[in-house]
Symmetry: C2
DNA sequence: ACCTGAACACCGTTCAAGT
DNA sequence: ACCTGAACACCGTTCAAGT
């Protein structure tokens, strides 16, 4: 006896829930079927197969990443604000973002942000190829930073870590530097500092 | 009848070869055993299990990434040269680097490069926390860039791609910009430009 | 149109038994 | 010390059969 009619939406919802909690590895067709109270094979009727189920989840995520509103007075400030906002949005959906990344859709997901950046770079007076380069440099920096950051979080304990490695002799007699590199990086600060440095150099002005 | 004695080194070599060619997904214990002409279970005696086999491959890769020699006259040039060299090294071992990344060992792999960067940042006159921030900013930028770049390469066809998306109206009446963003990014140029911009701003001088 | 169980071809891993 | 095959508990997917 079948339960109340299974829908594609229902399947996607349950799948998204599994992925959000434990990552895509935890999404097996059999577990999903158990969760939904159906036969494994019913899922295939609604979503084709596991791969296209994951594709559908990724598509959803791309849609959800809405437009970005710049904030600040100068174009440089507004660009940095977009960068920071992007970073936050990305960090709120770690597993799904990783899947978007794996499927090579990062670019498309970033289009609204890219358009906002174009606007600001224009306002700063850049045109043509130079403007394009500035936009792409910022975009690469944000995505790259988030990827590296996620990586660090997933593996907090390194052996040997920077901690042990940066003892006094190695650090060339700059104890303050040694201490700074021994502490874990503060990503928030590092990101803002990097973004400001990059943007200010790209625009040729702070 | 057993073949000529199987060694741990032989197992690692065959495994590395499989991974280099087709990625970690292609490394199954059964395929590896077939490649080596042994029973699947023999492999377990030598390397424990699949996970620690992959760990061993990663460890090898970390070792292989040797020290980096800076080149150039000014500290800024030498830092950019380290960044470019790092990027090249990383790109020569895509699958294995991805595995290092997944295991959170990127940091340790980068230590030799980090030390070179500290040296140059010092030569540029930075000290303490500010020097540390500069080193880390460069490091994050290089790793992040390579990750994003790899992502783009793996999925060359995007639908819709930047191509279609950046038609004239969208690009705010800057046809040169539209053309530039419609062309695929030239990573080599973009990387060098970004690295130069970042470094020059971090050091406060070109 | 939607659901089902059986079956297939794969996995990684354990273990008792061999030499 | 090293190797083996059998067995277990998992996978994703196909398919003929049901309603």
């Amino acid at each position: 006896m079948p339960r109340t009619a299974l829908t594609r939406e229902e399947v996607l919802e349950a799948a998204a829930s599994l992925v959000k909690q434990h990552g895509p590895g935890a999404l097996t067709m059999r577990k999903l079927a158990a969760e939904l109270g159906t036969a494994v094979t019913s899922i295939y009727w609604h979503v084709g197969n596991r791969e296209s189920l994951l594709d559908a989840l990724v598509e959803r995520t791309v849609q959800e990443m809405g437009a970005i509103r710049p904030a600040g007075r100068t174009p440089a400030q507004r660009i940095v604000s977009v960068a920071r906002r992007l970073r936050r949005e990305l960090r709120e959906r770690p597993h799904l973002i990783a899947m978007v990344h794996e499927r090579g859709l990062t670019e498309r997901m970033f289009l609204p942000a890219q358009q906002a950046l174009v606007h600001e770079v224009h306002a700063a007076g850049l045109r043509g190829a130079r403007a394009a380069e500035a936009v792409r440099a910022v975009q690469f920096q944000v995505v790259g930073f988030v990827l590296v950051e996620r990586n660090r979080e997933r593996s907090p304990v390194q052996s040997p870590g920077e901690q042990e490695l940066w003892d006094a002799p190695t650090a060339e007699h700059d104890p303050a530097l040694a201490r700074a590199l021994a502490r874990p990086a503060d990503p928030e600060k590092l990101f803002t500092a990097s973004a400001r440095a990059l943007v200010s150099a790209l625009l040729g002005r702070v």
